[in-house]
Subunit: 549 residues, 2 copies
């Protein structure tokens, strides 16, 4: 499929989205986000500004070998050449070329006040900068888009000049000129008027068929509506960010626009089965950038199709469609009644079946399990994100949880010595009682007791290493399990350092991938719980028999 054929869904999460206060992306984060965006089926992924931001230069370098895009095309963002410099001699333009991105999106000033006040050059030179840079990159075989910065404000101030920037870009070979509401203050009726006016001018200038785009921000609360309005006025390229990330109040939310355009305005942007992944992808990206999806987010938020029980409840049962603006399954979300039915017996029975346990009719087990889940979630546990810990809970309830090891004691110490060096070590002692099968060097066949000590980067790392060492001889499979992800969340932050901590640990290896959870006022204790559960679960799922002693 040639991306130029259809409508462009252009994602700028990795560039403009990362301007969001509090959002910082590593190169690995960026690669992970890009894979999700490609899976969603966006047309373009703007990866960053190579040459200006070192991390972005590295992103494009690694993308060449590590990013195997199936659908999306990678775009590098950059600026037109500097005033008074030949385009070939501008290192920033050279960096764009060297990024090897097939598409380059150039930001160009289109408000004369910014040209003279911020760039401190003339309107004429600015036009030459647009012309030279676009033509140069087109000559080198790049697809070139131009972001007309401050387009709407500029058009209101001096429509002739702003239009001349657009026509200059098209004349030099730009594939799209994107009308940017950089300060984000436009209202929908203004967008309609300005886009229609511009299109009439472009028609006269012989660029009536040229493709226009819209880049909107949410400063007046109208980012999505402004983009939709622009589409109705003839625009065929919209830019936005997943979950509405972006500088200040954020960019237009890409997934809201996608759902509105496809489900309500009839545009065919991504395959149906891909749109059904939208909710999952929004939340996955929220996890990667560590900025969770707002429960109130349109379409993909946890509350987007949630109904407080009461007035509507009985009517909803009769005909849910009367109470929702679309079928939530179309974007992978679901209608939900807010009556904490998550921990109800029915859902636990369903969950059990999902895990391979038939609990049909086991009302006592289901009731006890529902009670335990409710109580532990009140303490801060979260089983939604930790299937493995839920399964261990279930196994415990039916008396089938395997006991691979019993902990005698553990200790973790971090210290800064007089000379400034940091030292962290941990000791783990496992009892011998269950070790009938063990003959490890650390313990010995006579007692089966295992004592291990390890140094680490931090107390949790040291404890993890010590526990692995204590288990290794008995259970060599341990070496195949790797702790891949470690998340800490302070639950009651208002108690300062004296608060409850939740730790989620993701483990992979031996053809498994699973998450365990630990909770406690002490981060070390919570981590210990999640890690020791991870090894128990890993050994159990890999089919290792528990000692019978």
């Amino acid at each position: 499929m040639d991306p130029l054929d259809g409508f462009h869904l252009y994602d700028t999460t990795l560039r403009d989205g990362s301007q969001q206060e509090g959002l910082t992306l590593s190169v690995a984060d960026k690669l992970a986000v890009a894979r999700h965006l490609d899976e969603l089926g966006v047309t373009y992924i703007e990866g960053g500004w190579p040459g200006a931001v070192p991390r972005d230069t590295e992103f494009f370098a690694r993308a060449r070998t590590e990013l195997d895009l199936h659908c999306a095309r990678l775009a590098a963002f950059g600026a037109t050449r500097k005033a008074g410099v030949a385009v070939q001699d501008d290192p920033q333009v050279t960096a764009l070329v060297e990024s090897e991105a097939p598409t380059v999106t150039l930001v160009a000033k289109s408000d004369l006040r910014h040209v003279t006040g911020a760039l401190r050059t003339s309107g004429e030179e600015n036009l030459a900068m647009v012309r030279d840079t676009v033509a140069h990159l087109v000559r080198l075989g790049r697809e070139v888009f131009v972001d007309a910065e401050h387009f709407f404000d500029g058009f209101c101030h001096d429509a002739d000049y702003t239009t001349s920037v657009v026509t200059e870009a098209f004349a030099a070979g730009a594939g799209v000129v994107v009308l940017c509401d950089t300060n984000g203050g436009m209202l929908p009726h203004q967008v309609t008027e300005i886009v229609e006016d511009l299109r009439a001018r472009l028609e006269q200038a012989g660029h009536g068929q040229a493709r226009l785009g819209a880049h909107t921000h949410n400063d007046s609360g109208c980012a999505v509506a402004n983009a939709l309005t622009a589409v109705r006025a003839g625009i065929t390229h919209v830019q936005g960010c997943v979950n509405g990330y972006g500088e200040r109040t954020g960019n237009a939310d890409l997934l809201t626009m996608l759902a509105d355009l496809q489900l309500k305005m009839g545009l065919d942007l991504v395959p149906e089965h891909t749109l059904e992944e939208a909710t999952r992808i929004a939340h996955a990206i929220g996890e990667i950038v560590n900025m969770p999806v707002s429960p109130r987010a349109p379409y993909v938020g946890a509350s987007a199709f949630a109904h407080k029980a009461g007035l509507h409840a009985s009517a909803i049962r009769v005909d849910p469609d009367l109470y929702q603006h679309m079928d939530p399954r179309a974007i992978g979300n679901d209608m939900r009644m807010i009556i904490s039915d998550m921990a109800g017996r029915a859902s636990i029975e369903l969950k059990g079946r999902e895990l391979g346990f038939d609990l049909t009719g086991e009302q006592n087990v289901l009731s006890r399990l529902a009670g335990t889940v409710k109580q532990r979630e009140a303490e801060g546990y979260s089983y939604e994100a930790a299937d493995a810990s839920f399964e261990l809970l279930l196994l415990d309830e039916i008396g089938r949880v395997p006991r691979y090891f019993e902990v005698e004691s553990w200790r973790a110490t971090s210290q800064q010595l007089r000379d400034g060096t940091l030292e962290t070590e941990a000791t783990v002692k496992l009892r011998g009682t269950v070790s009938g099968t063990g003959t490890g060097q650390n313990g010995g066949a006579s007692t089966g007791r295992a004592v291990a000590i390890a140094e680490g980067n931090g107390p949790v790392n040291a404890l993890d290493l010590a526990l692995r060492q204590a288990l290794r001889d008995r259970f060599p499979l341990i070496d195949q399990l790797e702790l891949q992800d470690f998340k800490v969340r302070i639950l009651d932050a208002h108690h300062g350092t004296d608060a409850t901590t939740r730790v989620l640990v993701r483990t992979a290896g031996a053809d498994l991938e699973f998450t365990t959870v630990g909770v406690g006022p002490n981060i070390i204790e919570a981590s210990w719980e999640a890690i020791s559960d991870a090894y128990t679960y890993g050994l159990y799922k890999a089919g290792v028999a528990a000692p019978t002693g």
Copy 2:
């Protein structure tokens, strides 16, 4: 001022807003919110549903004596009479009368499918219910508004029937009929078409001058735009909730609509000096309902006028108005520079000025500082969230960072003993070299050395307590500083427990509130850095002199 004269700004935070998942309001909360809304100058405050919700009955009772409204009028929300019941005999209608609210807003079904499917009555009886209830309340001297529920969906399904509900309400004496997008899925162009169609029909029916309202939800991300669009189509009453609270994705954000209508569309809704309180009021209400204002909220959010990009900073210095869609002071907010690794010298100069340091022309200092920020952010530090740590960095650069204490060593140990009990303790040793002024029990005047030990809930808590104890005798002000918030982020989570950790600590007390940051592979080390910086910064800002020894 007769509220019927001008445009209506109708707040439903206390009714529809409280449908938000996770939001529960006590009567005292409701009274406090109402006072803030009155101060803001809204025209109507919908207080709740007396007779249906016991708390709301109590709210209206207490409002009569405890709520002294200067500007707003109180509205009680309720439903039209039950099918087949005389209006005088409907206890729910009687409760509306007994609430003594001067205005009553009745919800009426206006979608025929809901009339037959949910109410299970006929279209004719539904019209009689509207007629009887409105006329009854008007006879009793109430101002009556009608919320036409599911108006837009109903109009699309059967415009004639839906219009007849509107005309029936006006004929019976309703002051406003409010067009409700109850399921929230409309797009702006649909709103325009439907409102224009309805107005033409009302013109024909002799209600061309009647007042229409709009009640919108954000399910398609267009709540605010849909209301503004309705206003352009002739509507003169908008309903919304502060901070966009509300069921599912929320109601239209009242303050965003107010600012758009007044500052961009030229309507004169509230006095200028009242609008300047909007940011404060939004945050005050967020505190009362325990659901903080999103930093990304238009106009009033903490990030709404925050700039991160180095790109813009130099130009912002020249003319801030080129980079903001309106003057943030008009709604009581402020422009703010965020220091990040994208920041160049210009933004550091601006940030310095914000903190009270004039670095104009200090090119060397600015360059070194920009370099340090860039390098440390690459290591994982984040100064955007940690102004205090940035200020310490700046003080360090100009040789003015105060040295209140020097650390000799520290140690934190967590352990689980054989009997299963958990123990955590920390030791902190401070050198005597800087303690010329200290005569504490822990150290003594001869050396000034301080040694303290403390137990805690976790290693960080124990270290914090030990450090406070070691500093207390020298600096009694320490007891006024409280660590209020503690955030942990694992930066390169894919290394499992062997990853970089960032800790943010918010400290308050002694009329200060600030955030410090610490980074390291060891969570204890990172926490130690953030905590010890917090005490240094707190003592410095409180004006405590550093020992000179």
